[in-house]
């Protein structure tokens, strides 16, 4: 256990155990008064004098201080197993705990609480002030058996108060604790309080339980302030009852969680995995539906989040094809006696199949769903178990793959050979496209395709303001100061560079009847400047008026509003061209807005929940005022996102998704392609394809005769090509690097193969050779090396194809740039 005492210049201090905040001297009274005083007051109603108190944990002496200053307490035992904390309680914290350890009524025992309770006299009040468990062994003092033992030492009118966990952040674990206390034969009253320092660390509202042999209900807390014979420093006892109000939905959780016992140890999994996960069995029924499988993987360490574990799982699945399945299946079958008959039968069939042909993971999954799921879980857990893996610093640029869309952009679990071994670079899903190219080996790609999105969608763990963070958060400014300060912000409240857009009218009606390409009636309104307000995805912005922008280059963008899509340029307030309103585009924008809106709404709920009963601590903590401001900002953003949703509109019902481009075409953005001959074709709002070579424009059926291409359009296309150039160059450099490695590896493999063949010829067939660090028969080494060579050749071929494709593209882009560089 690591202990750290943060001592500040102002004389205040904070104690951390294993990195978890235990108390901050600036608001510790809130916590300790909330824990101790309700129990003491209620116990005093039955027994005004001669109170005997037991404190389990709490070696800092702060809960002890509350007991000793309470009239009627004649004896207090404190039992804590950590001598270091108790020593601090005697020395550094002596001023804080009012020299509690010097009081003759106080008796301190350095011992395991279980051992101490083996022989103990009855107590009128028991306080459990244990740290929140991080390891399985820490949960022994939260088990049913433990509370049953406490029930035995509690007098008939006695009160038990315990430090629980956050009902806000880990509701399942909180209600599990209540159920566990009740299973031990006690009634249990849950309540919560807000501890500003806890909340600043992302721990959420803090929960307590009050328990006794007789029934308890929230009304008992109503007159607490009148009953309490001592004054409080920070807690407003007259309002404590408000913390005992829980919604029906919250209380219902108790029915869904098990009782925590020494045997089942269910508390830690519930603590680490808020939101009940589907079972392995459910996942096994659909081995190819990854979502239930991913959700079934439990979080094992307090450092981790669900997103981290799921990201990791995808990467593990992506690398599992390297497993020697035949060897694994044989090893499993040697232990088959323990297995259910149907699994055994399947495995035997699998072994026969494997002796005939090489194994594919997909076949394995189809045949042996349960085993497949178990294997994925096992391998993922094996990789997730070490806490550091979540913060792996690998670059995601291993041979042959460059990160999955799940990990790109924010990744940790950095090795990044993501799920989907088709190889190739997932472009990370950019809205503006063009990074995807149209090569079949490249996932992701242009906006609206491939289901890949910008990183913010998958990243948004939202902990910064929702209070659901797993890590302590020293929250930055968040929405308090960044929002509305002239910067665009993202879902995390992080300010991003802002960009302004100058165009004529929007929303409200079909104003864009005039376009640079098609002409028409000039717009009735004067153009206006609109600022980007919210960064919904890497290249998707929401403007202050609710319009949605997809940025294509430094100067070109798509304006999506009222069921229309306009190609725009910063250089002109009128649309260059109205584009075909592809329903896929609208659907993806809507999905993105919905996801982001959900994040904002969760943040709002968390803030409201917090502010609803934090009000009375505002004198202590000026930050509460900041919280109100943040709430206002979030609500404003929420309204604007709703406006964006409304303004987006719908494309005509007749609109159909644009078919994918041909193999030799490159999609610059949805509905715009670079053709093999260097022309660029764009689909307009009537569904016609307009084609330009930079100088002339052919307008489909309506105006078949070529006419000069508007310079503004050419300039916009040029800016997109210019942006594409360095991306292509980078992709080429990376592929060439991989190819070089692949070729070096191939030479080494072929050398190995020659050596093995020579050794086999010189010796008998069972002659053993070095294969890596193993020694195996030469014949096996030959077949495995041959398999490696085949895989290498496939990879080499893929890289060569990609390089050919990219080289062509690069040449085309570079050759084209002068042609399109004619605009203003």
């Amino acid at each position: 256990m690591s202990l750290y005492l943060d001592e500040r210049d102002d004389g205040s201090c904070a104690l951390y155990l294993d990195g978890d905040l235990q108390f901050d001297s600036r608001d510790e009274a809130l916590y300790h008064e909330s824990l101790a005083l309700p129990a003491l007051c209620l116990a005093r109603r039955a027994r005004p004098t001669g109170l005997r108190v037991l404190i389990c944990g709490g070696g800092d002496g702060l809960a002890l201080r509350e007991c000793l200053r309470f009239p009627g307490v004649v004896h207090a035992d404190l039992v804590d197993y950590d001598p270091e904390v108790v020593e601090l309680g005697r020395t550094r914290f002596a001023a804080l705990n009012a020299d509690a350890f010097e009081d003759t009524r106080a008796h301190v025992h350095i011992a395991d609480a279980w051992d101490f309770l083996k022989s103990a006299d009855p107590y009128d009040v028991v306080l459990c002030d244990f740290t929140v468990p991080r390891r399985a062994e820490d949960t022994r003092v939260f088990a049913q058996e433990w509370y049953a033992r406490l029930a035995e030492v509690l007098t008939p009118d006695g009160l038990l108060a315990l430090n629980a966990v956050s009902p806000q952040r880990v509701p399942e674990a909180f209600w599990c604790l209540r159920k566990t206390v009740r299973a031990a034969g006690l009634s249990a009253l849950p309540y919560r309080a807000c501890i500003p320092s806890f909340r600043a660390h992302g721990y959420g509202a803090w929960g307590f339980l009050l328990a006794s042999h007789s029934p308890l209900n929230a009304s008992l807390l109503h007159d607490l302030d009148e009953d309490c014979p001592v004054s409080t420093r920070q807690t407003d006892l007259s309002r404590l009852w408000r913390g005992a109000r829980f919604s029906r939905a919250e209380r219902r959780l108790e029915q869904q969680v098990p009782v925590h016992t020494l045997q089942n140890g269910c508390l830690l999994p519930l603590l680490l995995n808020p939101g009940l996960a589907p079972s392995e069995q459910e996942a096994a029924q659909h081995p190819y539906d990854l979502n239930p499988l991913l959700r079934a993987i439990p979080i094992l360490h307090p450092y981790h989040t669900r997103l981290m574990v799921e990201t990791l799982a995808k990467q593990v699945i992506g690398t599992m094809s390297a497993l020697d399945l035949r060897r694994l299946v044989e090893a499993v079958l040697r232990r088959a006696a323990a297995l259910p008959q149907e699994v055994r039968t399947e495995l035997t069939r699998l072994r026969e199949f494997l002796s005939l042909s090489p194994m594919q993971l997909q076949v394995f999954g189809a045949w042996c769903g349960r085993l497949f799921v178990a294997l994925v879980l096992l391998m993922t857990l094996a990789n997730a178990i070490a806490p550091d893996n979540a913060f792996a610093k690998g670059s995601g640029a291993g041979a042959g793959a460059h990160g999955s869309s799940a990990s790109v952009g924010h990744s940790s679990f950095g090795g990044g050979r993501g799920f989907g071994t088709g190889g190739g670079r997932a472009s990370g899903g950019s809205f503006s496209g063009a990074r995807g190219f149209s090569s079949s080996s490249r996932a992701g790609g242009s906006f609206g395709r491939g289901g890949s999105f910008s990183s913010s969608r998958s990243f948004g763990h939202g902990s910064v303001f929702s209070g659901h963070g797993d890590a302590p958060h020293f929250t930055g400014s968040g929405f308090r100061s960044s929002y509305g300060s002239g910067h665009a912000v993202d879902l995390e409240g992080v300010p991003r560079s802002s960009r302004s857009f100058f165009y004529c009218g929007s929303g409200g009606g079909h104003i864009h009847t005039y376009t640079v390409v098609h002409g028409g009636t000039a717009p009735a309104m004067a153009p206006q400047t609109h600022q980007s307000l919210f960064v919904a995805a890497k290249d998707m912005l929401v403007l202050d008026n609710g319009d949605v922008i997809i940025t294509l280059s430094d100067t070109a963008y798509l304006l999506v509003t009222n069921g229309t899509v306009a190609l725009m340029s910063d250089k002109n307030p009128d649309p260059l061209l109205l584009l075909y309103p592809d329903p896929t585009l609208f659907q993806n924008i809507r999905q993105q807005l919905e996801d982001q809106g959900l994040g904002v709404e969760q943040a709002i709920t968390a803030r409201q929940d917090w502010l609803s009963w934090v009000g009375w601590t505002s004198a202590l903590l000026p930050a509460v005022g900041e919280d109100r401001k943040e709430l206002t900002n979030l609500q404003d953003l929420d309204r604007r996102l709703h406006t964006a949703f409304d303004r987006l509109g719908n494309p005509p019902a007749s609109a159909a998704a644009t078919p994918p481009p041909a193999a030799d075409e490159v999609e610059l953005f949805l509905g715009c392609r670079l053709l093999a001959n260097g022309d660029i074709t764009i689909r307009d709002d009537r569904g016609e394809w307009l084609t330009t070579d930079g100088a002339t424009l052919t307008t489909g059926q309506t105006h078949p005769a070529p006419r000069p291409s508007p310079p503004l359009l050419t300039a916009a296309l040029y800016s997109i090509l210019v942006k594409l150039d360095p991306d292509t160059t980078a992709a080429l450099a990376s592929d060439r690097h991989d190819l070089q490695l692949s070729e070096t590896d191939l030479r080494a493999l072929q050398q190995d193969l020659n050596d093995y063949q020579l050794l086999q010829r010189q010796n008998d067939s069972s002659y053993e050779v070095d294969y890596g660090t193993e020694q195996i028969p030469a014949s096996d080494a030959i077949s495995r090396t041959q398999k490696d060579i085949d895989q290498n050749l496939q990879e080499t071929k893929r890289l060569q194809d990609d390089i050919t494709h990219l080289t062509l593209l690069q040449e085309r882009i570079q050759a084209l740039q002068p042609r399109y560089k004619t605009g203003p």
């Binding site: 690591s2 943060d6 990195g19 830690l268 069995q281 094992l300 450092y303 989040t305 990791l312 690398t319 390297a322 090893a331 499993v332 232990r335 323990a338 259910p340 699994v343 085993l371 096992l378 857990l381 094996a382 990789n383 178990i385 070490a386 806490p387 550091d388 979540a390 792996a392 610093k393 690998g394 670059s395 995601g396 640029a397 291993g398 041979a399 460059h402 990160g403 952009g409 924010h410 990744s411 940790s412 950095g414 090795g415 990044g416 472009s427 950019s430 910064v464 302590p472 930055g476 992080v494 160059t729 992709a731 450099a733 490695l741 080494a748 190995d752 070095d770 294969y771 660090t773 490696d788």
Partner: protein, 338 residues
Amino acid sequence: MGQEIQELGPEWDARWDALAGQTAESGFMQSTAWAAFKRSEGYTTRRYGLFEEEALTGGASLLSYSAPGSEGFFLCPEGPLMPWHDPPKAREGLRLLARAVEQQAEQSGGLGLRIEPHLPPPRPSLMRNWTRAPIDLNPIHSLMLDLTLSDAEFRAQMRPKGRYNLGLAHRHGVTVIRSQAMHDLTRFYPLFEETARRQRFFAEPFGFFLNLGAALFPSGQAELFFAEWQGETLAAILVILFGRRATYLYGGSSARQRQVMPTYALHWAVMQAARAQGCREYDLYGYDPFGLPEHLYAGFSQFKRQFGGRRIDNIGAWDLLFYERLAASLVERLAAPG
């Protein structure tokens, strides 16, 4: 004369650290202090030495982590130390290590051994039976700065823009403060966390840094550097100094006052300090050599490139799976009721 492997107790700490610290294919994650840090994070550590004619020639400092109902891997980040230049010997040494670890796994659990030495790709033939791990704890590509150069030589190999920005930071009067005080972690962490959010990577929790500081500050193996300007802390980095190499492991900067180029002054100061401590190279830790827009280090590489340096490519992490353990765990999972 063959090689032998045996476990190394604490009496070997100094000799082990001397060897690991001077081995180019290794690094600080093999050090004794790093193992102590990992133990405070709940890992179990174990160290093996490889001997030839009774002289310590290599070995591995291993980490493992256990949780109820799950087995993990034995992890050997930045290791093992092997005679990589002599492939037959390295093959034998690695085989001895693998056997020792698999035997250990039979007792304490463990599905495989994961190694991550700093070797240039592709993987050597002697690792043919190892499979690529899904996670690399360390960056595959990095940028290494040469600390044996004089200041003038170093500036000369920097990019012009980097040289200019460094000069700018100094002209603005950015000062750099060094610290190995625990309480300064509370100054470091908000900057780190802010940067993590801005750059979209998962940030280690505060407790991680408390444990790191407790284990590495006393021995001088980790140090904080803060760039200050007009009374404001603008950027901070946490550097590991071990043997021949200094490593820029964590950093953070404020979005304010970027025009005074605090991070340039910061790294410059780190290099001076590292050189004074006997380090010969400074690892900028994580680099995108290609300019890929979606690369994990895309945002940082543009900056790092300004310091010049030499690109390093690593083979990444590789696993040796213990198939018998894997099968046993699978059967246990499948045979469990429900």
